[in-house]
Symmetry: D3
Subunit: 267 residues, 6 copies
């Protein structure tokens, strides 16, 4: 069950409103690297955790709840970049018009507000959310989400010169540093998770190719002697090898379709 207070988690100020930056901030709200994704991803992951793993359930839900507050901060930043300049009535329409240059819908559909879309106006989708039921897989998904999220935030930080926006982003970047670290710490706390899923008996997987790098070069080449072609594998369960060629099986051929499919071209 959730609760709210009208205070933001961290203050959001804009010195020089910039409608173009308002459109870029949408990526951090409704984009694949954005806060809607992480908030909902951590929630759905949390709801799949059984009683035996309570500390992980709490970890996921408390972080999900924090991320909701980050959507709020960014939505506030959007309205302040779109609406924030004091202006005479005569300047109104020009301000609105400039808002249509990048994401017309921030003016046309939302009346100068934030939207659940990315920086190209593509709607947020549940397809971004990874909640596999397997905790280790989910934690890797979370490291990835925070890694791409922090990368996005640093690019926005590079883009803007506004001190208020730089300060807000430096806060969000710091939180992403923490969140990357906490998911890695949670992964380290698991007992032998790799290869994911850890509970599948490896004896059932094909033993010929489970630690071999198969080159797919047309013209076979020498072992490049990279950390992924030689030496022990990171899971500590195998030795990497290099196969210059793919092994090859039978030829691909589809059985004849049933006549009622009318797949046959002839009349």
């Amino acid at each position: 069950m959730y609760y709210h207070e009208p205070e933001l988690q961290y203050e959001v100020t804009v010195e020089e409103p910039d409608p173009h930056f308002a459109s870029l901030l949408q990526q951090a709200i409704g984009g694949v690297e954005g806060e809607m994704r992480v908030a909902l991803q951590y929630m759905f992951q949390s709801w799949s955790i059984p009683a035996t793993h309570e500390p992980y359930r709490n970890l996921l839900m408390e972080t999900a709840t924090e991320e909701l507050g980050h959507i709020e901060m960014l939505a506030s930043a959007v309205t302040k970049n779109l609406r924030g300049s004091p202006k005479s009535p005569d300047e109104d329409i020009e301000a609105a018009r400039s808002a249509t240059e990048q994401n017309p819908r921030q003016f046309l559909s939302a009346g100068e507000s934030a939207m659940p879309v990315d920086s190209n106006g593509v709607p947020f989708t549940g397809g971004y959310i990874v909640a596999s039921g397997n905790l280790a897989g989910d934690l890797y998904a979370n490291v990835m989400a925070e890694a791409t999220g922090r990368t996005l935030a640093t690019r926005l930080w590079e883009y803007t010169d506004d001190p208020g926006m730089k300060d807000m982003l430096s806060y969000l970047i710091a939180r992403d540093t923490m969140h990357q670290n906490q998911w890695l710490a949670a992964l380290e706390s698991l007992d032998d998770p790799v290869p994911v899923p850890g509970s599948f008996p490896q004896s059932e997987e094909n033993q010929e190719v489970n630690y071999s790098f198969m080159s797919t070069r047309r013209n076979p080449r020498e072992d490049p002697e990279q950390p992924w072609t030689t030496g022990s594998s990171p899971d500590g369960k195998g030795e990497f090898s290099f196969l210059a060629e793919q092994p090859g099986g039978n030829e691909v051929v589809a059985p004849d379709p049933d006549s009622v499919t009318h797949d046959e071209p002839e009349g």
Copy 2:
């Protein structure tokens, strides 16, 4: 530039055709955990890599090329499950009808063939693909993709009793073991990648909250003393701490919108 041979990478046989299993296999073709996603993801990542990181570019592209062959194996498995039973002309329509029970489009739209959709018939989307330009972030995305992909493959393996399908899946599961390990090995070969992106100066991030777990419980609680609230952080650059409360900034409030938005409700 790509090349092809009609041989499959590994043989695909089906002893007892099962149209329902054909619909489930779609998840491994066009689903978020599927082979279309990894093949294309590794390609796009490879195309962003500059000359300075050639071994990674090769690693990504050679694996992408292998994954194309996995789509092919799975597509072959789908037609063999849909069309494979020898049957009298009279049984044709019943076979086709049974194919509509789970994914009607395998019969209606594809004439008993594989499709670029998931097991619910939702089309594959480029929105699944992560190619951030940042190599470390991309490698974490790849670990995650292989972790959820292997989890999917083990669930399909549990589902089916067909020896041919179990054998094909045991091959794919083994390849996912290799791929998880190779991406982890590539991550280990990078110099100090966490927090991602490593090139952003951490001095620019907010120093108050970059290694603190902020609890979002309504009713403040004790430090649970978990690996993510105490001790050194996995990146070796900070000490975890626990904040029982979120800090709080100014109140969220939107500036007045421009009059031309007609946001005001009154007439």
Copy 3:
């Protein structure tokens, strides 16, 4: 069964072609507030109405048919804004280039024509259409569709200075006025529709919380004494009350998953 005449419902003229405005008009064609949505929404609603409610079926279908003509008017406005300027052959490519500034696909994919997409180029989707089978719910959906549609049209009207475009929009705005009113009139003609669906016996709903505002503030506050916390409810069937706290049930906890899901992280 449908018919067509080549005449538009209302004349469409453009004095000063404006490719950027052509991209904004797409919102009124293929956007969530646009004419494709209302035309198809009213059609699908009409097709669900049984013989007992014939006047509503006619109302819905006649309005749907009018809306088809509005798509046509807007498509005509788009081509006139994109192609309308008399120009020398030399100016051709510059005109086409300027058309790529906002929605490149109006040039690249459509050869300077209207498209079934919104102002950001996001395709129209059937997911916008509300046709619930319940007439009262559908009529509220229609009021909403016309309210947001008229708001969009007024924002486009504010944006443009072109007399032809302003005249066309003043026509469409007027039709939206009518349509808002007709759906409200239809709602008023229904016998006791709120709460929707009216046919569900209210005695079956939880009697403790069906007219209570539950505050979700973290820090409980006083009843704000608003029209939604005190007094009679608009449906005339209850008295509003204010609960300073959410009631609370059992703790959320997921049962253990089956072993074949491989949800367990450990190896």
Copy 4:
């Protein structure tokens, strides 16, 4: 800023786990009528409200926060329907298999958990969310959302015989009753909102057709004398009339495209 407690808003129990019902419940989580939509819709609407309308901002945000808790209740109901039966290890795979009959991804992708998708497995999309910036339009969108949401909940209530599920749904139906009423009360509290947007000067709209029902029958018919063709309009600002024919403007014709579009078919 948000907070959470592990307690559910209302208790969720399942007596007879039913995997098929688990797939239907997805409609109330990630479907267009579901709780993700209302939670996020009310949030985004709240973030667009300026200081002058604070009570509405609070109303929207407090309700949004409650709706987050409804997603949680439903996600709990899904895991209890998928995983809830005590079973022998031998029965595991059969339970999982039965879970693939309707929504295979609840087993394949989520390990028997809830997902951010609808009952057909189509992902939730931000395209469902209406937050127009105009308060009256948004409130009508909210009435509609609660009307279709309550209709969905009553259909789920009719479907299930499980006492725990019926009890949970009777709670959610009651909350939808309240929410429909609160949005209507908020609409009534606005000063003259129809036609939306109220601030657009109606003198600018076409005065010939703003209160006329235009019949689109091919064969003109008599005025059916319905509440939407005669009498005062609900906004109190016009008198309905009936036009047996659409007026008609100029013919639709596209200007010649620029030569660089290569629209011309001839070689």
Copy 5:
């Protein structure tokens, strides 16, 4: 401008209501091969045609208008398959339950009505619509749409045993025969349309490879002497040849990214 009459274009009767068939019919309404696609596709194509090609504009619009009537026929077929059985009040819920087996939303979201979705419940999308501005390209798109549409209709015809449904489908199949032929006749009436677009000067295209089949086999093979490797090309402008190898250009390599992208992985 459009008109409507309540009569269907062809009568629709159902002798044995079949809820599963109702879900399959959705493919012909909102699927990629369905009537929503062709109706809208032909409309948008028509709106792009300039005055010089009036007969084609009429051809497109008159056919578009007919296709609207086909959506109506199919929507009627859906309600008759879902609702059509006379039943006692006690049987109501069982009928509704059976409707949830394939497409739960026909019951849950639409109250036993047709929806703008395909047979898997995936919403119709404007992304299906091809309206390129180039008439010859559009006509080929229309041949394809009718070819896949007729194939779908024959598969539905094979599936059902209901005489009413078979009769309706035999009507729609006949119309698809006509439409395939009319688009081919229109293509034949164009002056030299291939290669599309015909107005691009072929002298500007690379003359080395414009009529050569380039084999992409890994192991080069002999010319298979097929109609696409030897002889005159169908456009009458070239002679086919066979290249056993792809030519090959420079190596793919991305330039170094700007430092502000933070693409570099190292810290």
Copy 6:
């Protein structure tokens, strides 16, 4: 099974990097007319072809494999347009900023790289892919794909003045010429494919309307005596005729819904 060599199929050079052109090139990568669509479309079609039609299976797969290489060429062109200018460190941020003008995600999400999206940033979708199982229908889909693809390429060619880009496009345009011709040659090699599907007995289709043009004009008009209203049909199996009116069947009317749908509006 697939193979790769690091060489491009044809060289890609950029003299004057143009970030705006980089955003337009996305249409040829991830757009409906783009190379991802044709590569995957031909693959899925190939996988459905039985042994009896081996030359077509090879034709489809070899062309699919070539198209993969075209995605690679275009991705290379994108990075060269985004990153290619030699610049001082100070100019970095300006270069990155200019990249956000059209498609912000090329900078924000991809670090100045190509993405699997179209020129408006809309993700590639499997919904673009046509693979019907019927060879003739698929070949028409391929003619259409190459026709709209070549049209797109000529528009990009017109847009750019860069000699390198013009040269690359002239290569791709030439390949589209070949591919249009090869699909037409393959169609000609089929025995009597029209109307598609050729194997459905035409005697089962309605014989009254299978070669008649039905006018849908509101006001009936004379036979326009066009190639599609008179003379022999292109399939050689009928004579075109002109019907000034649609025939008309019974009235559309939905049966009463079951009571548990709660479709009835009254309380």
